[in-house]
Subunit: 103 residues, 2 copies
């Protein structure tokens, strides 16, 4: 039986990569008077629904999807949370798993 | 004494707003053979450091920053987590607070 998973994916620039958009936001905030804000990094946040037979399969597929399409592994890191929606609906429990390429 | 907070901000399109980038990713994934992926929505994920006297002040300021600069309230929702870094450094505890404009 296939299960329904919800994935929350966070794609961030690697620490060594410059973030011009973040720098622009920082200078914008400083001009607006918020000079107590620092180290702004802007990334992507992706939500999607995925059908898979089990959590390991879903995780494996998500890693492939992130590597091939959602993130650029040369300059970006990603991590994701997987939530088993079918289980949540069935029992009211929330199952969460985290995959992180930085590990 | 000012405290140091780390904020994780999630900016997402409102459910009623179309997401052309998400649709493009979905069709790209389908072409790559991943036809079990659905409901892709692409948002922004922003990390920043903030100095404030207490958590309430930090929260209030973050809401202003999100409303004025980071999100477009007409078409986007946002939520954020606040982590007290100074407390984390001092005691090893991790204090987390969530502000959500949808509440």
């Amino acid at each position: 039986m296939t299960k329904q998973y919800q994935a929350h994916i966070y794609v961030t620039l690697r620490p060594s990569v410059l973030d011009p958009a973040g720098t622009a936001v920082k200078s914008g905030l400083a001009q607006m008077g918020y000079d107590n804000v620092e180290q702004i990094r802007i990334g992507k946040y992706i939500e999607l629904m995925l059908q898979a037979t089990d959590e390991a399969t879903a995780k494996e597929q998500l890693e492939l999807i992130c590597d091939r399409l959602l993130a650029n592994p040369v300059i970006e890191n990603y991590r994701f949370d997987l939530i088993d929606i079918s289980r949540k609906e069935a029992t009211g429990n929330r199952q969460q798993a985290t995959g992180n390429m930085e590990k």
